[in-house]
C-alpha cells in the first residue's frame, strides 16, 4: 500500500475519534510522559503563537473548517492512528522521526496525551 493510500485511509477512518474511556492511573502516568514527549519534539512547531510553522501550515490547511484548531493540543478530533502516521511518515517539510528520537512507547504516550479529551 502506498503512503498516499495509507494516508487517505487514515483520513477516511480516523479523523473522528471515539469518546474516551475513564482515565486510569496508568493512563495519567502515560499522559504525563506524553506531555513531555510532545513538549520536546512537537511544541516548537505546533504550539500557539507566532513563529510556529506547523501551526501556520495547519491554519491554512483547515481554513475552510474553522472548527478544526491549528494548534494540536486544542484539537478534539485527533486519533492515535493519525498521530502515529504523521510522526513515522512526516508530511510536507515535516520529516519523520526515528525510534531513537521518539520510541514506540513514547509515541503511544504522546498519542494518549493528544487524544486525552479533557484530562488535564
Amino acid at each position: 500500500m502506498t503512503r498516499a493510500c495509507r494516508l487517505l485511509m487514515l483520513m477516511a477512518l480516523g479523523l473522528v475519534a471515539p469518546a474516551s474511556a475513564q482515565t486510569t492511573p496508568a493512563d495519567a502516568t502515560a499522559i504525563g510522559r506524553g506531555r513531555v514527549v510532545y513538549q520536546t519534539w512537537c511544541a516548537t512547531c505546533h504550539s500557539a503563537g507566532e513563529g510556529m510553522p506547523g501551526t501556520a501550515a495547519l491554519r491554512v490547511k483547515y481554513k475552510s473548517q474553522p472548527a478544526v484548531s491549528a494548534v494540536l493540543t486544542e484539537r478534539t478530533n485527533l486519533t492515535a492512528a493519525s498521530i502515529k502516521f504523521f510522526v513515522r511518515n512526516g508530511v510536507s517539510v515535516m520529516p519523520f522521526f526515528r525510534k531513537t528520537e521518539i520510541s514506540d512507547a513514547d509515541l503511544e504516550a504522546m498519542a494518549l496525551f493528544l487524544t486525552r479529551r479533557g484530562t488535564p
Partner: protein, 536 residues
C-alpha cells in the same frame, strides 16, 4: 533484511548478532519499517533506484559501545555511517552516502558532560541537541548563550562537523571554529583525544585548542576518518545589551562602498553581530512590475534606469543592518562610529536606529525577536517551504545550493548576473536577484533552496540544474561550502587544483586510517580504495 553490497548475507547476519550483543537487541534496527526511518526526508533522489538507503541501524549508548560496534564492522568489513542527531536536512539527513551502509545512530549519546560558566565552555556528546543544551543552561541559571543555527534540533557536534553556522558574534557563528577539543573513535576501534585532551589528566581540554604538534581536528570535519564521540565548544557570555541600526543608500553602485565599509567595521570588531543586506527598492507587496526590467538591466550592467527610479520614488537601492552586542554605552558609541564611517564613504547615506535591548530579554521580547540571534533555539526556519497562504501546495523539503563568493559588492553583481543567465538557461524559475548572507567573516555565502518533491521528474530536473550550477560557479572561482550527499562528488570534483591534489591527499589519509573503508564511504567525496570506481 537488506544486506550491504559486497557483504555475504551470513556474514552480515553474524555482524548484526554481534551489534545486538554490543548495544542490546532493541537498539539494532533491521526491519524495513524501522530502517525506512533512516531515509533522508529531503532526499533529492526520493523513491528512485539511486536513493541512498541504509541496510540497518545500530544505536550505541556510550563510547565503549561505539568502539565495539566499529571493531565489529571493521572485522566483518561492514560499511557504517555515523550520524549525531541526523537532522542535517537540506544538506543530508540520516541516510548514508553509500547505500547499504549501517547507520551508526549516536542520538542516544545525549549527555551534557560539563558546562563551565566561569570560562564559558561546554563538553557534549553527539546526541545532544541545541534544544537540550540551552534547556540545561537555562535550568542551571547560567549566564551563557549557545550560538544556534536556524533549526534548533540539530546537534552542536553534527552541525560543527558539517561546518554549520549561527547568528551571534563572529567568533561563535562559525561552529567548527568555536569548538575546542574532540574525542574520536578510529576505524579500528582505537580512541584518541585532540588538543590538550591528548594529555592524560589534562586540565584545559576545552580552553586551548591546539595542544602540541599538528592540529588534526579539521581532519574529522566533512570527512570520514573517525567517529566523533565528544566535542567541546566555547559559549557566549551573556552580553549586557543588543543594538541594531540600518544604513540605506540610494544608488545601485553604492553597494560597493557599502560592503567595503561594512567589512572594515566587522573585520576591526566594531560591528560584532551578524549584518544583513537588504533591497528596500524591491519592498512592497506586490513589487512594482516596472522594477523587473530595471533590475534585469542593472544586473546586466546598466544601472541608469534603476537609479532614476530610486531618485524619482525617493527609494533606496540598498540597506545594511548592523548589529552590536556588548556594554550598552559601548555599543551605542560603536553605532555612532559606524554611522560616521558609512556617511564618509557614501554621500547621502541615511540612518535609522533599530532594535535595542538590555539583556536578558523579557519573555515578551523573546517572542518577537529573531531567536537564534539571542541564543534561543527554534524551528521557525521551517516556515521556508511549509504550507502558507502564498504556498498552498508545499514541497517535501529543499536542498541548499550555497556557494561562497568574495565579500565585495562587485562579486554580488557578478554572481547575480551569472545566476540569472544560468537560471534562464536551466529554466530554474525560483532564482531572482539575491543578496548573500554574512555568516562568515571575510566571505559571502549565497543560499538558494532547491525544492525537493516526491515527483522524480521534478527532482531530476532540479538535480541537473544544481549540478550545472555547481560547475558554472566553479568556472567563476566560487565553491560550495557544504552540500547534500547526492552532490558531494560533484562538488569535490570542483576542488581540483593540481589534478585533484586535495582529494588525492584525502584518499591517501583514508587508506591509512581506514584501510577497510568502513567509515562513511563517499562522504564529502572521499571514497575508500575499493569503491573509488563508483564515484559519480
Amino acid at each position: 533484511m537488506a544486506v550491504p553490497p559486497g557483504v555475504n548475507a551470513k556474514v552480515f547476519a553474524q555482524a548484526v548478532r554481534e551489534f545486538e550483543a554490543a548495544v542490546g537487541k532493541e537498539w539494532v534496527f533491521t526491519s524495513d519499517e524501522d530502517v525506512a526511518l533512516y531515509r533522508d526526508a529531503y532526499s533529492v533522489l526520493w523513491g528512485e533506484p539511486e536513493e541512498r538507503l541504509a541496510s540497518a541501524a545500530v544505536a550505541p549508548d556510550r563510547l565503549e559501545q561505539v568502539q565495539q560496534v566499529v571493531k565489529i564492522a571493521n572485522a566483518h568489513k561492514i560499511p557504517i555511517y555515523p550520524v549525531s542527531t541526523g537532522r542535517n536536512l537540506g544538506y543530508g539527513g540520516s541516510a548514508p552516502n553509500y547505500s547499504g551502509s549501517v547507520v551508526l545512530d549516536l542520538k542516544r549519546m545525549n549527555r551534557i558532560l560539563e558546562v563551565n560558566e566561569r570560562n564559558a565552555w561546554c563538553l557534549v556528546e553527539p546526541g545532544v541537541s541545541y534544544f537540550d543544551l540551552v534547556r540545561h543552561i537555562d535550568e542551571k541559571g547560567y549566564k551563557l548563550w549557545v550560538d544556534i543555527p536556524d533549526p534548533g534540533w540539530g546537534s552542536p557536534i553534527g552541525n560543527a562537523l558539517d561546518h554549520g553556522g549561527g547568528y551571534t558574534q563572529p567568533m561563535f557563528r562559525n561552529h567548527f571554529d568555536s569548538h575546542c577539543g574532540m574525542e574520536v573513535v578510529l576505524a579500528d576501534g582505537d580512541v584518541l583525544r585532540t588538543g590538550m585532551g591528548a594529555m592524560p589528566g589534562a586540565k584545559s581540554w576545552q580552553e586551548y585548542k591546539f595542544g602540541y604538534g599538528p592540529w588534526i581536528d579539521g581532519m574529522f570535519s566533512q570527512s570520514n576518518f573517525g567517529v566523533v564521540t565528544k566535542m567541546g565548544f566555547w559559549l557566549v557570555p551573556l552580553p549586557d545589551a543588543y543594538l541594531t541600526g540600518t544604513v540605506t543608500v540610494s544608488k545601485w553602485n553604492d553597494l560597493i562602498p557599502l560592503v567595503d565599509t561594512l567589512n572594515y567595521l566587522e573585520n576591526s570588531g566594531v560591528v560584532n553581530g551578524m549584518p544583513g543586506l537588504g533591497m528596500p527598492i524591491r519592498q512592497g507587496t506586490p513589487p512594482d512590475p516596472a522594477l523587473r526590467g530595471l533590475l534585469e538591466a542593472a544586473t546586466g550592467g546598466d544601472a541608469s534606469g534603476i537609479d532614476a527610479y530610486a531618485a524619482r520614488n525617493a527609494r533606496a537601492c540598498w540597506s545594511c543592518t548592523v548589529k552590536f552586542y556588548g556594554p550598552q554605552k559601548a555599543i551605542a558609541a560603536s553605532w555612532e562610529f559606524a554611522k560616521e564611517k558609512f556617511a564618509a564613504a557614501i554621500p547621502g547615506a541615511r540612518f535609522e536606529d533599530g532594535e535595542s535591548y538590555k539583556l536578558p530579554l523579557t519573555p515578551e521580547q523573546r517572542e518577537k525577536v529573531h531567536k537564534p540571534e539571542f541564543g534561543i533555539p527554534s524551528l521557525e526556519t521551517f516556515s521556508i517551504g511549509a504550507r502558507s497562504e502564498t504556498n498552498p501546495t508545499p514541497s517535501s523539503g529543499h536542498a541548499w545550493f550555497s556557494p561562497i563568493i568574495p565579500r565585495n559588492g562587485e562579486a554580488i553583481f557578478e554572481a547575480n548576473k551569472v545566476f540569472a543567465d544560468a537560471a534562464r538557461k536551466l529554466d530554474l524559475a525560483f532564482f531572482g536577484f539575491s543578496l548573500p548572507t554574512t555568516y562568515w567573516m571575510r566571505s559571502f555565502i549565497f543560499l538558494f533552496g532547491f525544492p525537493v518533491t516526491r515527483d522524480a521528474a521534478s527532482n531530476k530536473k532540479n538535480r541537473e540544474g544544481f549540478k550545472q550550477l555547481v560547475d558554472i560557479c566553479a568556472q567563476h572561482g566560487w565553491g560550495e561550502y557544504r552540500t547534500a550527499p547526492a552532490y558531494q562528488d560533484a562538488v569535490m570534483n570542483t576542488y581540483s587544483f593540481n589534478n585533484h591534489a586535495l582529494r588525492r591527499f584525502h584518499e591517501r589519509v583514508k587508506d591509512a586510517v581506514d584501510p577497510n573503508g568502513i567509515l562513511s564511504a563517499g562522504r564529502y567525496g572521499i571514497w575508500p580504495k575499493h569503491l573509488r570506481g563508483t564515484r559519480a
